[in-house]
Point group: D2
Chain length 188, copies 4
Amino acid sequence: MTRSDTMADALPPPLLADEWLNADGPIELAALRGKVVLLHAFQMLCPGCLSHGLPQAERVHRLFRGKDVAVIGLHTVFEHHDVMSPAALRAFNHEYRWSFPIGIDRPAASGAIPMTMQAYGLRGTPSLVLLDRRGHVRLQHFGSIDDLALGAAIGRLLAEDDAALDNAAVPDGSARPECDAESCPAPA
Amino acid sequence: MTRSDTMADALPPPLLADEWLNADGPIELAALRGKVVLLHAFQMLCPGCLSHGLPQAERVHRLFRGKDVAVIGLHTVFEHHDVMSPAALRAFNHEYRWSFPIGIDRPAASGAIPMTMQAYGLRGTPSLVLLDRRGHVRLQHFGSIDDLALGAAIGRLLAEDDAALDNAAVPDGSARPECDAESCPAPA
Amino acid sequence: MTRSDTMADALPPPLLADEWLNADGPIELAALRGKVVLLHAFQMLCPGCLSHGLPQAERVHRLFRGKDVAVIGLHTVFEHHDVMSPAALRAFNHEYRWSFPIGIDRPAASGAIPMTMQAYGLRGTPSLVLLDRRGHVRLQHFGSIDDLALGAAIGRLLAEDDAALDNAAVPDGSARPECDAESCPAPA
Amino acid sequence: MTRSDTMADALPPPLLADEWLNADGPIELAALRGKVVLLHAFQMLCPGCLSHGLPQAERVHRLFRGKDVAVIGLHTVFEHHDVMSPAALRAFNHEYRWSFPIGIDRPAASGAIPMTMQAYGLRGTPSLVLLDRRGHVRLQHFGSIDDLALGAAIGRLLAEDDAALDNAAVPDGSARPECDAESCPAPA
């Protein structure tokens, strides 16, 4: 898929979050135009998020700070809603001292999966979405991805001006019924 | 300190826990006489517990299963009580699939520190207590301890019959005001 | 520095190697035009090369195989020449099973530092040189570099067509007298 | 097997080494009576020795320094003899800065396997031999062993006075034809 395709030209859904941590106020994707954006969707009780995804998001945030890369966390609670409340996330964020902004995905009127997670069609946690400087989704990945591959994907997007690029999407693994050490799949 | 000392001869306080996970019922230290006991005190939102203490307790449990070593987790919540509830711990335990029994330390009538944690004088989480086959405390440590040193301490206690041994206590670090990557100190 | 600068327009020195391992024959940089080239200079007895640089070169080789990235090892022996002979390197290569081609840098007529290492002005091992698709040096680094940063540098070069790019050079550490866990500096 | 068994009562073969590094002179097992001895047999070009065995021997040496544990390295070259010469080992030892004494196992009059390695019946590298305070072999292991298990074995032996102990031997893996990431088996 290239950037001239219809799909790539459509902008991604907005981030629906009523509360933001580590930020002065709500974060709008539109305001990040011109930057590469890494969106990291996680749950605070997801083992793969704790052991891999969140520390990686933190490393990306620190490495590219001030270099046209914005890292955004999104707490996409789709299970154990009662114990992964905003208050619980605040305590978690306080103890782990994440430095990137984290939004709390808005619960849906019905169903377990929150609204932004639904709109992006995320399959579970951890999930990673990369947007290019023009605001288009270029990579969406469920599960863990290693630093070398993620670095390369970010580097490609940073280098882009407006030439068409192949979509560097990493193939997803198959659906899994519940959290394992790597990830927490959402219900289908 | 040797086993003939008065202090070492006193048995440690009982485990005051109203709920046990990964166990058929309450666990009494008296019933473990004859085994070496590793008591791991943790909080589910303590970074050092997640990154080091709990995985180590799990490794000890798996390595010495059926070999006269009993591993017991104790959820000693002394901060963020509202979000480290028994329900939250159950979800945490479900996602991480710990295999050793975990008791929930009984809240004190007043004050933040739960009763067993107080009775043992634990300074924060993670903390580790080793009991010998006769039920006496032989090592109490706040913070992380490496596998080689912990293995040696367990090996020594396994080898003991009833000769007096020097107390192999590892010196504690100094008090710290709040959680860091290693540990969460309790208020003084 | 941009690609329109005089220095960047000069092509780098050729690889002077009389023997190649894991290759069908000599490798010429000119034949790799169109690809991003990662040149990894190492010594088989350099601790930082073994613990970090060589495994990283192997990971890059495996991740980008068939994707316009060529990884080349260069055995730049500048100390302990008698025990880091071609025969020793062959045994080392056999035991470690590196999959990327490795050239043996040609000894200089006088002095400890071999010819390619001298020509590139490498400061010690491990050193990493990145060439863009047009064959120009874009990054030269002494010591270790983490996967995220290396991935990003490779990704940027892969994305390039012919727009001018800032040189993403990583600043070098200061000179060190002998090998430490990270690297082996060459004599000044 | 207990210490009253005939085999356990026989003392192990002497260390046949003509050169010692990191030591003031030859090391005799008899002079270490009263200490627990960890003998680590390795080859400098064995990947599993570099990645696991040698760093573990170094950790044991540092943790138990002055605490009745003696760590001894033994360079048991059984392949690539020409490039794992004493001179090569000296350079290797210089670069890696091992702090424990290392003996060079004496080449046999015929055959690839050196004399001490033969006498102990070691199957390859890395191999680990643990001697108790009375000088008897209590554990012999080919391949890697984790810190918790090794610590426990050392702790047991440190605690011993003269009670009979079960042999805590770790079962060996099956023979492998050449070095892999874990170990280098010797020819049968």
